[in-house]
């Protein structure tokens, strides 16, 4: 063995590899695009300590104490008062639709009880479907309770400044009282798994035919393009439903996730979500020239889906631009649908704001797919 000749061959192979790589523009794009995308997402978009969480207040006693309390809540940086509510029903509605993360309820005779030293109770209801999104905010409450009123308790009231807080903030964790992470993750996983498999499998299904040359045979038969497309999609819809059922069974019997809402409604929205992902896979397959490219495209879509949808990190922790992107992804809305139906017992009216975005996404994707499909025939 001549080491010089071996080195020359090694160099020859390396050169050939580089030339081939430069021909494959999508792979080249991945080499540059993936690190940039990850840097942007992890560096700027993700924040596991979400602040300025939307909070509604129900004030039934307007006094200097309550005003101070609310101001200090906002000063923690975790709570942002977005709405005043006048009834319990309205507060429940806001929580159920996910419009607010918290509702603070200050009882009618708060000030009187406080002055009497009766340690009145402020009720703070939290949407605890995602424990990670609320835990820091709730932790900050402790210090608020300790010191907030010290400045107002002057003169004869100064005796009320003991080590103990003069009032109690009682936290009511709604939908997930014990703050069990699985309650949030397991239903969310359903969306993640469906996104991954549905987009990838349909993407591969069409490109495989093209790559192997069998597409030509298919086109030479009387089968129409629409029949081919639909026929290719049907098995994956069934696979999607099977996957979904498996996860639901696991959620129920292994993780004991509560099933508050209608299963029928859940299956209906899941079908929509599956269809949206399948059409995306189909559209990818009309653009991709081979299976590798279809896989790369899927990955390009999957990464932001998992990071910006609120699956891994709290949605409200992300900056505005990331939330805008997140809201364009079907997974974001599907997560809210599943968690809403399973944990909160949402009905169709309550979930509608997250149903139509998925429909819109699908319409756009199908239109794009149809546009590209024509080109590949001729």
């Amino acid at each position: 063995m001549n080491p010089a000749a071996s080195l020359a061959r090694l160099w020859g192979i390396a050169l050939k590899e580089l030339v081939q790589l430069s021909r494959d523009r999508l792979t080249f794009g991945m080499i540059v695009g993936i690190p940039i995308m990850q840097l942007l997402l992890f560096g700027f978009a993700i924040n596991s300590d979400p602040k300025h969480l939307p909070t509604a207040i129900q004030v039934q006693d307007n006094s200097v104490f309550t005003r101070t309390f609310i101001r200090s809540l906002e000063n923690t940086g975790y709570f942002q008062i977005v709405q005043q509510v006048s009834s319990e029903a309205q507060a429940n509605q806001l929580l159920a639709e996910g419009e607010v993360q918290f509702v603070v309820n200050i009882p009618p005779d708060f000030s009187r009880q406080l002055v009497r030293g009766e340690r009145p109770i402020i009720l703070l209801e939290a949407d605890a479907t995602d424990p990670a999104a609320t835990s820091n905010a709730l932790a900050s409450l402790l210090t608020v309770g300790q010191s907030v009123l010290n400045r107002d308790l002057t003169g004869s009231l100064a005796k009320l400044r003991p080590s103990d807080a003069p009032f109690e903030v009682r936290v009511h964790r709604r939908y997930n009282a014990e703050g069990i992470t699985q309650y949030n993750i397991v239903p969310g996983l359903m969306g993640v798994i469906l996104t991954m498999t549905m987009v990838l499998m349909t993407g591969l299904a069409m490109t495989r035919e093209r790559e192997r040359g069998t597409f030509e045979n298919l086109l030479a038969t009387p089968a129409k393009p629409l029949e081919v497309m639909a026929g290719k999609i049907v098995p994956y819809i069934m696979i999607g439903l099977v996957q979904m059922t498996l996860i639901l069974l696991a959620a129920r019997f292994i993780f004991a996730v509560p099933f508050q809402g209608s299963l029928l409604l859940l299956y209906a929205v899941s079908l929509l979500f599956i269809a949206a992902n399948l059409s995306l896979g189909m559209t990818f397959s009309t653009i991709a020239r081979n299976q590798l490219q279809a896989m790369q495209m899927t990955f390009f879509f999957f990464l932001p889906s998992i990071l910006l949808s609120g699956f891994m990190f709290p949605f409200r922790g992300m900056p505005g631009w990331a939330q805008v992107i997140g809201n364009g992804l079907p997974l974001t809305h599907f997560l809210r649908l599943v968690r809403g139906i399973l944990l909160k017992g949402n009905d169709l009216v309550e979930i509608w704001p997250h149903v139509w975005p998925i429909m819109l996404f699908m319409t756009v994707i199908v239109a794009l797919g149809a546009k590209f499909y024509k080109r590949t025939l001729d």
């Binding site: 192997r212 040359g213 069998t214 597409f215 030509e216 045979n217 298919l218 086109l219 030479a220 038969t221 009387p222 089968a223 129409k224 001729d378």
Partner: protein
């Protein structure tokens, strides 16, 4: 005599490439029509236009009486198209492949039809073998059977015998002749001259243009080539010298013989005269073959292209 294919002035562009230019073609019923030409000359594109897979940019015509532009669905139902590359599903078994194709054509007695084909092919015992596990010759027979199942009146075969051994090729052609005898028309593209000679009629296409049509004899006669065969020792040096003669178009070595071809008989004879005086060589005038004609056509086309 009815025409199975009758198209005039078909054109197809891919981007700024004019892939097929003014293709006019008439194939009679029951005729085996050979489609010849170098790689990339537009044969496959032409065939795809005939079977409704591609829409011509311009031109008109009929396939089995159906309009090639408006009635592609009907054409697909009555034409059997065999792709250049094996395009059945390698991860399906032989039977599953045939069954799928039968479904696509909406055949009524599907099971019987598939079984009949399996028996006829002698594949009945291997029906559950994956198509990908078949040898080249068997794959080709399976592909032919698949495109014959819906009993088409016209077969379009795109280089059906590429990479198939001589015996399998001969059997394949025997079958094609049987089908033609039953009145089925066949358009077949090929690079093999022995196959070209088994066609009733030939067409030669180069750079998207149909240059010549006719029977093998007509094609040969039309080019008026003169051929000499020389045998002897030390042919390599002789071949080099002959190639430089302006009157000589081709010099081809066949073992211990050379074929010398020219377009002008008198000029060639005069040019060869000094060499025929050399000792140790035997010279003999022979008939030019189909291959000589096609190579000559190809080279003239190249020369023209360079002048343009």
């Amino acid at each position: 005599m009815t025409l199975a294919i009758d198209v005039r002035g078909l054109n197809k562009h891919f981007g700024d490439k004019h892939v097929v230019q003014d293709l006019s073609l008439q194939v009679k019923q029951g005729e085996i029509f050979g489609f010849l030409g170098p790689n990339g000359s537009g044969k496959t594109t032409s065939i795809r236009m005939l079977c409704g897979l591609l829409t011509p940019d311009s031109g008109a015509g009929q396939c089995l009486g159906y309009d090639v532009i408006r009635e592609t669905a009907a054409i697909k139902r009555h034409v059997g198209y065999m792709t250049q590359r094996f395009s059945l599903w390698e991860d399906l078994t032989i039977r599953e492949n045939l069954d799928f194709i039968a479904r696509m054509y909406g055949m009524k007695n599907r099971k019987q039809a598939v079984n009949a084909v399996l028996v006829k092919l002698g594949l009945d015992e291997r029906r559950n073998q994956l198509a990908g596990a078949l040898s080249g010759g068997w794959k080709q027979r399976l592909a032919l059977a698949a495109c014959m199942m819906h009993e088409p009146q016209l077969l379009l075969l795109d280089e059906p015998t590429a990479g198939v051994d001589p015996k399998a090729r001969r059997e394949f052609w025997d079958e094609i002749h049987q089908l033609a005898a039953q009145g089925i028309s066949v358009l077949v593209s090929t690079h093999y001259m022995d196959e070209a000679e088994r066609c009733h009629k030939l067409a030669y296409i180069a750079r998207g243009k149909l240059l010549i049509t006719g029977s093998a004899e007509e094609v040969i006669a039309s080019q008026r080539l003169t051929a000499w065969e020389v045998s002897g020792a030390e042919l390599q040096g002789l071949a080099e010298q002959l190639r430089h003669l302006p009157a000589v178009e081709q010099v081809t070595a066949f073992g211990s013989r050379l074929h010398v071809i020219g377009g002008d008989a008198a000029l060639l004879e005069a040019a060869l005269e000094p060499f025929r005086q050399l000792p140790g060589y035997q010279w003999q005038k022979i008939e030019a073959g189909l291959e000589d004609v096609f190579i000559s056509l190809m080279e003239r086309q190249n020369d023209q292209q360079e002048v343009v």
